[in-house]
Symmetry: C2
Subunit: 201 residues, 2 copies
């Protein structure tokens, strides 16, 4: 035997992996998953198509990682709003969570659309379910807590949580797919927030 990957080597590999992922996310942010092809990713990264396969087993794996990556931060933000450092009422936390989600989705534009609503291959869809479940999980926990301390009326936390995800997806993100420009952010966010609060409280 005469070759063993060393720290430097592994670092380079990791960096390349990272670079590919970053480029991939940026492609999705620009043109959605529809725009993400192996050859384009290779071209924009400045390598050969075959090389991509040294870093990702298949396109499905690539998409899954892109999805995870692009998603993490979003879910974290909502998580943070739902379970903040300083104590706050469930009602307030729910408001904040919905607001954060909405603001980021509107800001995110194409990326938000790609993550939530864009038609994609089943393999990616699978990943999306995980993503939606992550949101639903956060909401569910929050609602459960609210119900327990009687701040919210009795309800099925899991159904209510899924419903919230559906509301946000449909009202905020779907319009992006239609290319509807969001003229006034608050004009959209306010009614959504109110709707959600009425529904839960």
């Amino acid at each position: 035997m005469s070759y063993r990957p060393t720290a430097k080597t592994r670092a380079r590999r990791k960096a390349q992996h990272e670079s590919l992922l970053k480029t991939a996310v940026s492609i999705v942010a620009r043109d959605g998953f529809q725009g993400l092809t192996i050859s384009r990713l290779a071209r924009e990264t400045g390598i050969a198509t075959g090389t991509v396969y040294k870093y990702f087993d298949s396109k499905a794996h690539l998409c899954a990682e892109v999805f995870r990556r692009a998603t993490e931060r979003e879910v974290e933000m909502v998580q943070a709003a739902s379970f903040p450092e300083q104590p706050a009422s469930c009602r307030q936390r729910l408001t904040d969570a919905v607001t954060i989600f909405a603001e980021r989705a509107i800001l995110g534009g194409q990326l938000a659309y790609a993550l939530i609503a864009e038609p994609v291959a089943p393999a990616v869809e699978q990943e999306r379910l995980i993503y939606r479940k992550a949101y639903a999980g956060i909401f569910e926990q929050l609602i459960e807590e609210g119900v327990k301390i009687n701040e919210f009326p009795d309800q099925s936390p899991s159904v209510s949580a899924a419903a919230l995800v559906g509301i946000l997806a449909e009202v905020l993100v779907a319009p992006l797919g239609r290319g509807d420009a969001v003229t006034d952010q608050n004009q959209l966010i306010d009614p959504i927030r109110e709707f959600c609060l009425r529904a839960i409280t």
Copy 2:
């Protein structure tokens, strides 16, 4: 000139068109849009693949028609529940509409999933937007009426309507994509209905 299509000829053509459409819908009901290919449609109808193109300009057109066809009845049912013959309170009508939608979606299974949630080609997605808009339109009208007579609190009918569509899509249909069997229909419908009513009233 020496040939003009006659009534009998046009009838035959229409019948064939109808037969193709019916077969196509049944394929979608079984295996979703994913399962709908020109060659399979031809096979199941008992004609050659090329013949399909005598009746549909392209697959996109075919899908659009399938979508429209499968959709019509569904939207009609909800429309009927929302604006019944006998007068009823907006609240009651909303309840009925949501119930009808939910029941039919659960019954419909794969078809409901295909119409609302299955990942499809952008061209079909376009058609789906029309479909969702049809539902949203019904709800919007109903909510508007309820707000006007002060049966519902003040709110943005268009946002609330879209939200309802999102709720129904996410809570009812998305699980079908996961293959979650619906064990108890009412166990799912009841909380949804309550959620929607709380949100609107």
